[in-house]
Amino acid sequence: MALPADHSQPQLAKGCRWGEEGADDTILFPEGVIKVQGTGKHILERCDGQNTFADIVDELQKHYSNSDPAKIRDDVGKFLEALQQKRIVDY
């Protein structure tokens, strides 16, 4: 598989969901749980099946305007790809 395409709309995979109140910085999935913070949490909160990959990258590039936009794009893509391999994110 490859990095998400610009027009793809990433979302949590079937059966993967945010933790309940008090654990809303975790994502539960079959056999496991991951804790997400900072930028990772920020990205995953936007993976709602509506925002496109391009939207998410664009927003982060604006937010971190001092960083190299190409690097931001690359980092977000790799982050989502790694979660897609674990079947936590779909795009």
Partner: protein, 378 residues
């Protein structure tokens, strides 16, 4: 400080329409009449969530054999637990599946015995394959995670690639390729099930190729069987470290097989809370930590990774639950494992031919002493 358990395995019944020859249930199963009532399970799930447990695995037997399954799922979901149903699929219609999903089911793990119908029925001691295929299609219509579990052993490993392709067609998110583990019924039937080294080497290669091909599509989880490993498995992530198992009668155990260990009394969830059992019960403390460890575990740098291996295996093979797991190449009793492997790898084993019948009685008669089917408890 003692961490919270992460997952609760609820064996809600030992009744099962299948008779798999490697079933992980104990040889002495709980009778239907001794099962916990609905309200007891519901209380246990609430206590589990309050204790910090995240995942609930509903298993059996066949959990669908309980008419109150949707109620149990709704209660678990209501308590905030991530709920997984481990099932053979027998006992669920399309309507009942929809009801379980509505109740809050997050994940379903469906077992297959083989890709070939005759062979699957021969292992399960009943005809189940057709229904499982139908169920797989229904599952994909729902927003839940879907795992297919396949138990592998000497009788089916030679066509592992075919079985992986078969599972791929079902479109799951995950595929578990699980080598039979030799406790309970599988230990009784070990001679017919344990793979040869040649089969295992080939299987590792087949799995690696499939992982590459299916990356991003289907996640494959597979583990080398411990008889062939250099070091033992970290059984249950360590005794009393991560998991609690409740048997159909409410007995709290650190793992599926712990009931075989003599001299330990396991407390019941009807007598004490889950939290009290986790923290204080002698059973959960018995092999927790490193105090109990013998040499070579005590001085081994791997002791915090594999926790000395499996206590039940130490008992079943070496006759001492406090011994190093014989699966460890450093264990004094490792010769027991070596002898089993020498036997299976030296002899030229004819592969058995699947018997075609839907009658358990006829199957048992026809397979002779190849293996013993797991009966249904009374």
């Amino acid at each position: 400080m003692l961490p919270n358990p992460l997952a609760l395995i609820a064996e809600i019944t030992h009744r099962c329409p299948l008779h798999c020859v490697y079933c992980s249930n104990p040889l002495e199963m709980a009778a239907a009449g001794s099962e916990l009532a609905t309200e007891d399970w519901i209380r246990v799930f609430r206590e589990a969530a309050a204790l910090g447990i995240l995942h609930l695995h509903l298993t059996g037997g066949e959990p669908l054999a309980r008419a109150d399954l949707a109620l149990l799922i709704a209660a678990a979901h209501g308590a905030g637990l991530y709920t997984n149903l481990i099932t053979s699929g027998i006992g669920v219609s399309e309507t009942r599946l929809a009801e379980l999903v509505r109740a809050g089911l997050d994940h379903i793990q469906l077992s297959f015995q083989d890709s070939r119908e005759d062979a699957a029925n021969w292992i399960a001691g009943t005809r189940a394959q057709g229904h499982k295929l139908e169920l797989a299609r229904w599952i994909r219509k729902h927003p839940i995670a879907f795992t297919v579990n396949l138990v592998v052993h000497r009788q089916n490993l030679d066509h592992l690639a075919e079985m992986i392709s078969f599972i791929e067609q079902l479109g799951p998110d995950r595929m578990e390729i699980a080598h039979a583990q030799y406790y309970g019924w599988a230990l009784k039937n070990r001679a017919a099930l344990i793979p040869t080294r040649k089969q295992l080497d080939k299987a590792i290669q087949v799995v690696a190729e499939a992982e590459k091909r299916l990356a991003g599509k289907i996640r494959i989880d597979s583990v080398v069987p411990d008889y062939y490993a250099k070091y033992p498995k970290a059984c249950m992530g360590g005794w009393g470290r991560r998991l609690m198992l409740i048997d159909p009668t409410g007995k709290a155990l650190p793992c599926h097989a712990a009931g075989v260990i003599p001299g330990i009394s396991f407390e019941n969830v009807c007598d004490r809370s889950l939290g009290q059992i986790w923290r204080e019960s002698p059973a959960f403390q018995r092999f927790r930590g490193e105090e109990w460890m013998p040499e070579p575990c005590r001085g081994c740098e791997r002791r915090s990774e594999d926790f000395g291996g499996c206590r039940c295996q130490a008992l079943l093979l070496a006759g001492d639950a406090s011994a190093t797991d014989p699966a460890c190449s450093l264990a004094a009793s490792h010769s027991i494992i070596e002898a089993v492997l020498a036997e299976v790898n030296a002899n030229h084993h004819e592969m058995a031919t699947p018997v075609r019948s839907s009658s358990l009685r006829i199957l048992q008669q026809e397979v002779g002493d190849l293996w013993v089917y797991r009966p249904n408890p009374e």
